[in-house]
């Protein structure tokens, strides 16, 4: 990044007028610095998967694991694991493999990415940003003004890593500001790609704000997720196997207060009805033992919230509510037709019996994202995905992986969003080869 470009009229660089209303969270900066950053990154030239950037993320991974608060937060540990060099090397390989299939295509960074981070999944902004960073982009990441302790700790770690990292400092800003369309519009004018995480309402609020005509956009609306378990296989499984299922489900259920798009809201028990009831009851008891083994203490607020919610369901629909497990509430839905897609969160599991996997299909719609599964053979799952088809479903993964980040998200390969493909054909090969 050489030399600051000459000052442009404010209408061309609208971020100049809003920068003093933006609070930079990391790396530490003021309004003047933010303006200079936004101007300078217009000229950014970088290449995907540069060594220097891979190293930065490796240091970030180590710093997350060294942080006393983050090392105790399983979602942050998962993030650190995803950022470690071996995992990033796999991403780089995937990039190289995809590039090799199109030898006449050069992948270059999209340029400048504006990320509007969700407030329900603390760690997601780091994944979204890290992918953009790996792909050689500059980023502005907007975070909610009301962040929890985990986000604050992540920002602290990012700031510390950035303080010794010129590349990170020069090309990234993590910021926050109030609900102010003028600021979002100004930052949108800066970016070449805008990512809106955060559900239907956020998408509806942000999408009307114009982007530069050459910019692209990816939006992630509200999603709904559920689990499917083969009741007979579960009922017939040895105790330690059933414990493993419950343990895996524990993460899916309790991370992010069951409020992430991928958090399972329903467990469909696939099999004969007489088996399903017993299997669901055993599953709840096993899950409760897992809650106790891990010393997980639900907050009184979520206990009160999910209980009130379950009573409301019982008052109007044909369900059996199980309150005996302190860690969560089980709602056994007798009438499948009464099943809605309202999200309670905070540890409420609906159980539904279905004789066959295909009986779940009518429940699937475009807002569905992740199906977690156990005990179901791969062919049936592929068949299920194919039949659901255009109606929805983005991921079908084993129980325990609901919240795992994947570069293919909601049906889109995020690396494709962060890179532009330049087709290069022809040219005289001989002269370039002759150069040293």
């Amino acid at each position: 990044m050489s030399g600051t470009p000459p000052p442009a009229p404010h209408e061309l660089r609208p971020w100049h007028t809003v920068a003093d209303r933006i609070r930079v969270l990391a790396p530490a900066d003021d309004a003047a610095g933010l303006r200079a950053f936004l101007d300078a990154t217009l000229e950014l030239r970088a290449e995907p998967f540069a060594r220097v950037r891979l190293d930065t993320l490796g240091r970030l991974s180590a710093a997350v694991l060294a942080d006393p608060l983050l090392r105790r937060d399983p979602a942050s540990v998962a993030l650190a694991y995803w950022l470690r060099p071996a995992q990033l090397a796999r991403l780089a390989e995937e990039h190289a493999r995809r590039a090799a299939t199109e030898p006449d295509v050069l992948r270059v960074p999209a340029g400048r990415v504006l990320h509007l981070a969700p407030s329900n999944v603390d760690t997601l902004f780091v994944y979204s940003w890290a992918l953009a960073f790996l792909c050689g982009n500059a980023s502005v990441v907007r975070l909610s003004q009301e962040s929890g302790a985990v986000v604050e700790a992540l920002l602290r770690v990012l700031d510390a890593v950035a303080s010794r990292d010129e590349e990170l400092r020069a090309t990234n800003r993590f910021v926050t500001y109030g609900h102010d369309d003028a600021i979002t519009a100004a930052l949108s004018a800066w970016c070449a790609h805008r990512v809106i995480w955060g559900g239907d309402e956020t998408v509806a609020a942000i999408r009307p704000l114009p982007l530069p005509s050459h910019a692209s956009e990816r939006v992630f609306g509200s999603k709904y997720s559920f689990a499917v378990i083969d009741a007979e296989r579960y009922a017939g499984a040895p105790g330690d196997e059933r414990t493993r299922v419950a343990s895996a489900f524990f993460n899916d259920l309790f991370w992010f207060d069951q409020m992430a798009c991928s958090s399972p809201q329903v467990v469909f028990w696939i099999g004969p009805p007489d088996v399903s009831g017993g299997a669901a009851a055993d599953f709840e008891a096993t899950l409760q033992r897992e809650v106790e083994r891990r010393g997980f203490e639900p907050t009184v607020s979520s206990a009160v919230h999910r209980r009130s919610y379950a009573f409301g369901l019982a008052a109007t629909t044909d369900v059996r509510v199980v309150l005996e497990h302190p860690g969560f509430v089980g709602v056994h839905v007798r009438d499948r037709m009464a099943l809605d897609k309202e999200v309670c969160g905070g540890g409420l599991v609906r159980h539904v019996a279905a004789a066959r996997l295909s009986e779940v299909l009518p429940f699937v719609d475009e807002g569905d994202q992740t199906v977690t599964h156990w005990g179901i053979d791969a062919e049936s799952l592929r068949g299920f995905a194919a039949l659901a088809g255009g109606r929805g479903l983005d991921r079908i993964v084993p129980i325990g992986e609901a919240l795992a980040f994947d570069v293919v998200w909601d049906g889109f390969h995020l690396m494709d969003d962060m890179l532009r493909r330049v087709r290069v054909r022809g040219g005289d090969r001989g002269r370039a080869a002759a150069r040293p």
Binding site: N120, S144, G199, E201, A205, V304, V321, V343
Partner: protein, 363 residues
């Protein structure tokens, strides 16, 4: 249906020991459970769906009586009488932005409710209606079709006063001149003062302290209700509150009041030991907030309130979102039977961040 509470109306409101009271209440609560199960479909569904079946209930102790979370009245209308018999609908907004509770009363429930409130209030305030100062502005009760929970509370209490005077102006400043004139009119008779706890603190105690002034309300009685949250934040405990009230007004009798629109008959005034006292129509249980197991006296948990009054809606057993602790039983030296307790605060609302709240402000 005749309210079971009628059987108790001839007794003094604190005239049964805890053991006697529980023996009287148990069959009444059983009857009410059956009554509501037969007449209120959503209530029956809850008994079927949560408590193992309306027909299979075994209520051997008061702790076995099924309960509803009090918030259910915000999301559902629960009635055990046909619409035509509803004479009054009580509403309460609770916290700003929430849906109000809707409580339907028929003539029987409304009349027993009024009788019980009078009996309990008279126990503390005497039979004579005292000159009354309301620590609020008159606007809060002006429009009777839309008044708030605050307004409803004031109107409920105002019936125990004579020619009530609203001591705050519309801008919440203390109308000292008007108040002094009212006290002159009261001519030395004891005065009843009523208001919400934080308003008494902010607009009476602190306002007088700031101006370095006093009012002479010696011999009066102050009844206050509403949460302590704002006072706790200012590190004001009940003892400090009473002392500072006495210092600026001369009032020695300060009585806290607890109750909720969702449960008629659950009216709790502070006994002389400064604990809330359950009258004979009502029982208090404290439960573990997570496991719901009943807790021994002295342990803090979620407060369940039971009342033998309501026949028009299934509100005889409610699990509140208030945290409290049982402080005593048939407290010695008070001449009052039953459990006494203290309210410690409210369970904070679950902050479940949906994926939709990145940019959209929610109320």
């Amino acid at each position: 249906m005749t309210s079971p509470a009628r059987e108790l109306l001839d007794l003094p409101p604190f005239g049964l020991s805890q053991a006697e009271k529980r023996a009287r209440l148990l069959p009444m609560l059983r009857t009410l459970t059956t009554h509501h199960a037969e007449r209120c479909a959503p209530y029956r569904h809850v008994l079927d769906g949560v408590f193992g079946g309306a027909d299979r209930l075994r209520i051997e102790r008061i702790e076995d009586v099924p309960f509803l979370p009090v918030t259910l009245f915000k999301t559902h209308t629960l009635a055990s009488v046909p619409d035509a018999e509803v004479v009054k609908v009580l509403t309460s907004s609770g916290t700003t932005g929430q849906q109000p509770s809707r409580i339907v009363l028929d003539a029987e429930t409304a009349s027993v409710q009024a009788a019980v409130l009078v009996k309990v209030a008279q126990h503390f305030l005497g039979r004579e209606r005292l000159p009354m100062v309301i620590l609020d502005h008159a606007g809060v009760v002006r429009d009777r079709r839309s008044y708030s929970a605050r307004g409803a509370g004031i109107l409920g209490m105002a019936q125990f006063g004579h020619r009530p005077f609203y001591a705050l102006r519309d801008d919440m400043s203390l109308d000292e001149e008007g108040l002094r004139a009212y006290l002159t009119w009261a001519a030395g008779r004891p005065v009843l003062i009523f208001g919400f706890t934080f308003m008494i603190w902010q607009y009476l105690v602190q306002a007088l302290e700031r101006g370095g002034r006093r009012l002479d309300l010696a011999g009066g009685v102050l009844v206050h209700s509403g949460g302590w949250k704002k006072l706790q934040e200012a590190a004001v405990d009940p003892g400090t509150f009473r002392d500072r009230v006495a210092a600026v007004t001369g009032i020695e009798r300060v009585i806290n009041f607890y109750g909720m629109v969702e449960q008629v008959g659950g009216v709790y005034f502070e006994n002389p030991k400064h604990h809330l006292q359950a009258p004979i129509y009502s029982e208090i249980i404290v439960r573990d907030p997570v496991t719901l197991a009943p807790l021994p006296d002295g342990e803090a948990g979620l407060v369940q309130v039971l009342s033998c009054l309501p026949t028009s809606y299934p509100g005889h057993s409610l699990l509140t979102e208030d945290l409290g602790v049982i402080r005593g039983v048939d407290p010695e030296g008070t001449g009052m039977g039953g459990r006494s307790f203290e309210i410690l605060g409210r369970v904070p609302k679950a902050e479940l961040r949906g994926c939709s709240d990145t940019f959209v402000a929610h109320a």
